[in-house]
């Protein structure tokens, strides 16, 4: 295997590793088979595993996720692709009402081990209906696990955990990260869901980030380090299970908190993080908390406009400076 792998290649590699070890893992989605996916995230799967395990579907988001659910209830581990995360709205019934509720409302009789993968977020200039960061939609639904990796290695490790999970997992692959590169992890690499990573240690301010905002937070940390402010960056990696302990642990070291999220401020995951801190970690704080988040507008097309509404390095740096000086 090459000594670097892109995030997009890591998606296919992560799925392939699981398909090799478990014959109940099957893939379905639009254009995923011969075409290798519109984002080329399933390249090679059809060639290696054949048309019986890698299925092209019609443009039928309800049928894709509904059929994945039926298959998961009856012995398979389907990995369904919804091309752009905005399209989750077309099959929202399955994500909000069917998949996450069936185990509970049947008194534990039915388990739904499936993964719904989707390309999330902005940065590629696709306009308002193909660019939204929607992980906070799923966050409002009890019964869904939510993974959002930031690096190729995590893509592979978290894909393994998601596919092996007996619970349904929505797996957000961030479009702005698809071309990023990293070292491929060794065989058998699994990143347990619900384990955040401290991706940079620091003593002054904690930055909590997810997926696309992780590299953003790291860049901001570099800038701030030059000014004498040492930032600790936490990559949450999952929203459910949420590693609240990692956030509280970091605050014990830094006593200052900024969350950096791409989804709109209103109802975003950062609100859940800061409310836990307010509830359980108020005494750890030496300053107010700050949330750097998307504006509450549909995502605009032009880069110059997009920069106004989703987090940038500058906005993160500004927020941290204010807190460091508090």
């Amino acid at each position: 295997m090459a000594d670097v792998i892109t995030y997009r290649e890591a998606v296919a590699e992560g799925i392939a590793r699981e398909m090799r070890r478990d014959t109940t893992v099957v893939c379905l989605g639009e254009d995923i088979a011969a075409a290798g996916g519109v984002f080329k995230t399933t390249v090679g799967l059809r060639a290696e595993f054949g048309p019986e395990r890698v299925w092209d579907t019609p443009i039928s988001e309800q049928a894709i996720v509904g059929a994945a659910m039926g298959a998961a209830m009856t012995g398979m581990r389907p990995v369904a692709e919804i091309m752009f995360s905005d399209f989750l709205a077309c099959c929202w019934d399955y994500l909000a009402n069917e998949i996450p509720k069936v185990r509970y409302m049947t008194g534990g009789q039915v388990t739904v081990p499936l993964v719904v993968r989707t390309a999330n977020g902005g940065g590629l200039g696709f306009g308002a209906q193909h660019s939204q960061a929607t992980e906070n939609w799923a966050l409002t639904v009890p019964g869904l696990k939510i993974a959002a990796p930031a690096t190729p290695s995590d893509v592979i490790g978290m894909m393994a955990a998601a596919i092996r999970s007996d619970d349904p997992v929505v797996f957000f692959e961030h479009k702005a990260l698809l071309a990023t590169k990293g070292a491929p992890p060794p065989p058998g690499h699994v990143v347990e869901l619900g384990r955040a990573a401290v991706v940079r240690e620091g003593t002054d301010v904690t930055l909590v980030a997810l997926a696309s905002t992780v590299p953003l937070a790291l860049k901001a940390a570099d800038v701030l380090s030059g000014e004498g402010t040492e930032v600790e960056v936490i990559d949450l990696r999952c929203l459910v299970p949420l590693d609240a302990a990692a956030v509280l642990g970091s605050l014990r070291r830094t006593s200052r908190l900024v969350t950096v999220e791409e989804n709109p401020y209103q109802g975003g995951w950062g609100a859940t993080v800061v409310s836990i801190v307010a509830d359980e970690g108020f005494g750890l704080l030496d300053a107010p908390v700050r949330r750097v988040a998307g504006e509450c507008v549909p995502l605009p097309f032009a880069d110059a406009l997009e920069e106004q509404v989703i987090p940038t390095v500058d906005r993160v740096v500004t927020a941290v400076r204010q807190l460091a000086a508090y």
Binding site: Q62, A67, G70, A71, N97, V110, D243
Partner: protein, 325 residues
Amino acid sequence: MDAAGLLACYERMAVIRRTEKAAHDLFLQGLVKGTTHLAAGQEAIAVGASAALRSDDYVFATYRGHHHALARGATPEECLAELMSRATGLCKAKGGSMHLTKAATGMLGSYAIVGSHLPMAVGAAWSARLRGTDQLAVAFFGDGATNIGAFHESLNLAAVWKLPVLFVCENNLYMEYTPIAEVTAVARPAADRAPAHGIPGEVVDGNDVVAVEEAVARLARRARAGGGPAVLEAETYRHFGHSRADPASYRPAEEVERWLKHDPLDLARGRLAELGVGTEAVAEADERARALVERAVEAAKAGPPPDPREALTDVWADGGAAWRT
């Protein structure tokens, strides 16, 4: 169907009819809360289809699903206990009337979002194919579901993948309160649309348990042999209103009268007589059904309430509900 088979179907229908009546009475006594969607009048579809299915086939039903749960092996006691919020209920009192499920017998759920379970049945049939079994998946749904997008997505996907799935529409002429004919451009809302998806669409008298059994058996053989999915539209009528709050006063009196005369239990009795089964044997089946349901009502009433701690279990496969570390 032979005489013994038909008598067994008759008894099963009698059990369902009496369980529905009990559910109705218990609601009036304040022992069943929420709502119920009774299937009295539609028993022949669940019982006839079940008689044609194997025990390892999968069934998906709707909120009007008491008859399917009972036909697929749930006991009247489990069902009534669920309706009465007892810990002994089929779903530990977490499901209620609209979600009766017995996974162990292939009754994979009752879904209250109209049409939502049709793709699940497609997926279960897909899974059967992938695992190399010749299991069948059956989705039962109402006429109203045929105007939902998922209906069309499911028929198409099942057809292109040639999956062993049967779509069985229980056309009882009404959605909630609106006649299906007023909001649908074709006369047979399910069967007429099937050919547009490359699937055969058949119509059957849904109140005739023998006719339903024969149609499902034939379509099931075809599907198991690789012939692909089919749509069966079973014409029927609900005896009660849509749900507990509905006196069904929107239905013309002569229509109600005509359908009540075409009762599935009466029809089965007539067929039993034709097969030479005496009235005594039928009376005994009725008596067994009566006694079973009576005992079930008492046993369900005696069931304990759920442990409040159960509210925070069963979200995840580990049995718990924890969402954070």
